[in-house]
């Protein structure tokens, strides 16, 4: 068609076409098109930068600056006492990475205990919460009478502030509390020991399983009914439907919920602090350790612990996004696809043209 439509004398007017037809020079056809677009990008880019800059500024002030300050602070040791005057010196000595290397020597016991407690709480509570949360979501998803009441009541624990639920469970786990009455056996939950760990796990699961339930419920509600109808026609059992349809389709929402819960659990502070108390080896988390150091005016080691916790949280989040493909920022995967698409576009067009 092109051959017949273009007379030979018009050829000089279209110098590009010849080049465009040559497969060896694919970028050439893009030039005329890209030029106006890039100019537009420069304009919109400037506008975008202008519009985004307040956000970036705020982020710098409230996120970047404190983080850098904490990093800097973590390089300083505690102030020393001058035995002659009896006064603490005014300046903190620069100790380099000593606060970090101390976790392998003198401060090691306490740090690693806190580290393993944090990990233990995260793994145990999040696993339990995931199972219970999914169960709650399945119940809430069912259509039955009084469903709204069940939904509301499941969400009550999530609505209670953690500090308050800490107090609440402290009374329940009191030596004469309802927990022991129901058990018919006196367990000293709030003493320092393994039972304290269990108490924290119970209280935390009670409090946050509804959160997972809520997010999974949202995921469940977008699964079309037809999928289940088709599965039923194919003779899939209820269990098969759950494993093959519900779980895979609810996975994006579930992953986000689990990720959020993991990050929350890693930062756990108020529940063990109020329920069991400060400086209890069996429940001390990294946050509690950092707070304790700071309250004893050792800001250097406190910052070091906080930075390590930050890294730990960061690595867990990264692992979730990279390994499990959790769609953290709703469309992160989408843009990635879009990008590869965009790269593919000119090539295909070239092929079209050459064809």
């Amino acid at each position: 068609m092109a051959d017949t439509a273009i007379p030979p004398d018009t050829a000089p007017h279209q110098p590009g076409t010849a080049a465009r037809r040559r497969p060896g020079r694919p970028p050439a056809p893009e030039r005329p098109r890209r030029h106006p677009r890039s100019r537009a990008t420069a304009g919109t880019g400037r506008l975008a930068a202008l519009l985004v800059s307040p956000t970036l500024l705020v982020l710098t002030v409230v996120v970047l600056y404190p983080t850098l300050m904490a990093l800097d602070e973590s390089l300083y040791g505690p102030k020393g006492l001058d035995p002659r005057t009896g006064f603490i010196s005014n300046t903190e000595p620069f100790v380099g990475l000593k606060n970090y290397t101390d976790i392998f020597t003198q401060a090691g016991d306490r740090f690693w205990n806190a580290f393993w407690n944090t990990t233990f709480f995260t793994v145990v509570t999040v696993s339990l919460e995931t199972v219970i949360g999914i169960a709650m979501a399945l119940i809430m998803h069912r259509a039955f009478r009084g469903r709204s009441v069940v939904r509301a009541s499941i969400l009550v624990p999530w609505a209670i502030p953690t500090a308050i639920s800490g107090l609440l469970w402290k009374w329940i786990f009191n030596a004469d509390g309802i927990a022991n009455v129901l058990l018919g056996h006196q367990v000293l939950w709030t003493a320092d020991g393994f039972s304290a760990k269990i108490a924290v796990v119970i209280a935390d699961v009670w409090k946050t399983a509804p959160f997972i339930g809520l997010l999974v419920l949202a995921g469940l509600q977008v699964i079309p009914k037809e999928v289940y109808e088709a599965a039923r026609l194919d003779g899939a059992s209820a269990l098969q439907q759950f494993w093959r349809i519900t779980l895979p389709l609810v996975k994006p929402a579930l992953l986000v919920a689990v990720l959020f819960r993991c990050l929350d659990a890693l930062r756990m502070f108020d529940l063990p602090y109020i329920l069991i108390g400060a400086q209890k080896g069996s429940v001390e988390t990294l946050s509690m350790l950092a707070q304790n150091e700071a309250s004893n005016v050792r800001f250097g080691p406190a910052s070091a612990y906080a930075v390590l916790l930050f890294l730990y949280v960061f690595l867990v989040a990264l692992a979730f996004v990279r390994l499990l493909g959790a769609d953290l920022i709703g469309g992160a995967g989408g843009t990635k696809k879009h990008k590869s698409h965009a790269v593919g576009v000119p090539r295909r067009r070239v092929r079209e043209v050459t064809a």
Binding site: G86, I88, T190, A191, Q279, S295
Partner: protein, 434 residues
């Protein structure tokens, strides 16, 4: 036009203020240094509004006293800043204020164990000791405000441990006087437990949860057995036979159920409730229990005595609060006057009458009319005069944590008392080495 005149007025006002300030600084600075040359080079200058910072006032009496001051000093008003009730958060906020060198806090109500730490960090000013009636106060209480021989905090209230006991049961069992030694107490318990109504009761409890109360109770046990945690020069001295006898009393009592098993989770309130519910024959607690127990089921069935010890009456730990002056505050002359007013015998009497706060003044305990209102006052006086302050060390937070760790391990049977004391001695040596 308008703006420029406004600016001019502002400028001149600022200049005038600066001038005033300069002259004020010059004059009072000069007289101050001349006056108190023998003490620290601190001069208390500046008059005007100040703040008083303390934990939440649950009795309403602090506000009344401040209102009294404000009425008499309209130009030097005191604003009451209320912090949370628990001591840890109070300390936290005061430290934060000091770390930022803020002048928001002027007069601080400090716990008796914070003085060394606050003074060593120079968060609080040394005070002119001769301007306070310290001679009329109980000496262990005065000591709580001192650091390296200088006064940094003035006692505002005191507190000492008391032994609460069930008079009705002891009488029925044929015991006429409260015990003065631990052995006597255990023997009395055995007698009382023979009574049918006391079969399920436990003998004794204090505060053994892993928190500050455990340090208090451990210090009491050690001091009551003739031991000590730190010696006169502040060096740890806890790995001794006397200290072991003290700790052994607690460990043994847990083992033979003289102290009930659940007391390992007791804080002040848990013990009080157990005592009021008729689960305990003897209870070691602060005097505040008295008025509350009078309103409970055991009203009129209990009395107080000084704490028992190994061979005779024991030694209590000191509680209470002192007043200190923030180093970063303004109007320190007013602050000093307010501190004198707040810690005066008159104010202390008011606090005793209306909030049952133990006064630092010795003669108030011998006042017949007050004794009628609070029958425990003579015992409390004895408790406080024989009391030993908890270790007065700069790193108190770490010291108390170390004590709690080791003692808790001993009480729960994870360590022998000998091993716990040995480890504690090592920990404390490290903490006080600097």
């Amino acid at each position: 036009m308008k703006t420029s005149t406004a600016r001019a007025i502002q400028c001149s006002a600022a200049l005038a203020a600066a001038g005033l300030l300069l002259t004020a600084c010059g004059s009072s600075g000069g007289s101050g240094s001349g006056q108190s040359a023998q003490a620290a080079p601190v001069s208390f200058k500046g008059r005007g509004p100040i703040t008083y910072v303390a934990g939440k006032d649950t009795t309403g009496t602090v506000q009344t006293i401040i209102a009294r001051w404000n009425k008499a000093h309209p130009k030097e008003k005191v604003t009451f800043i209320q912090l949370p009730t628990d001591a840890d958060s109070q300390r936290q906020q005061m430290i934060q204020n000091a770390e930022t060198k803020s002048d928001a806090y002027t007069v601080l109500a400090t716990d008796v164990v914070w003085t060394s730490e606050f003074a060593a960090h120079q968060w609080i000013e040394p005070l002119p000791a001769n301007q306070f009636p310290l001679g009329k106060m109980l000496q262990p209480v005065v000591q709580t405000g001192q650091y390296r021989g200088k006064l940094y905090a003035v006692p505002a209230s005191s507190n000492g441990g008391l032994l609460f006991y069930r008079t009705d049961l002891l009488k029925k069992a044929g015991v006429t006087r409260p015990p003065t030694t631990w052995a006597q107490m255990t023997a009395d318990c055995a007698e009382v437990k023979k009574l049918p109504e006391a079969k399920t009761m436990s003998c004794y409890a204090g505060q053994f949860q892993k928190y500050e109360g455990l340090t208090v109770n451990f210090a009491e046990a050690v001091n009551s057995a003739g031991g000590r945690i730190v010696d006169a020069s502040g060096k740890p001295d806890v790995d001794t036979p006397q200290a072991k006898k003290g700790l052994d009393f607690l460990v043994r009592s847990f083992k033979d159920k003289t102290i009930p098993k659940e007391a390992i989770t007791y804080q002040e309130e848990d013990g009080r409730q157990a005592f009021q519910a008729g689960k305990l024959i003897f209870l070691n607690n602060w005097p505040y229990v008295y008025s509350l127990a009078q309103k409970s089921a055991i009203k009129g069935k209990f009395a107080v005595a000084p704490l028992p010890g190994l061979t005779g009456p024991g030694a209590s730990s000191l509680g209470g609060s002192d007043l200190a002056l923030s180093s970063f505050a303004k109007n320190k002359a007013t602050a000093l006057d307010f501190m004198k007013f707040f810690t005066s015998e008159e104010s202390a009497t008011y606090f005793l009458k209306n909030a049952s706060l133990a006064p630092p003044y010795a003669d108030l305990y011998d006042n017949a009319s007050l004794d009628k209102q609070y029958p425990y006052l003579p015992d409390l006086k004895q408790s406080i005069t024989k009391a030993v302050p908890r270790p007065r060390v700069v790193q108190y937070g770490d010291v108390t944590a170390a004590i709690q760790n080791e003692v808790y391990a001993a009480l729960t049977g994870k360590k022998s008392s000998a091993q716990a004391l040995k480890d504690l001695q090592g920990d404390l040596q490290k903490l006080t080495a600097q």
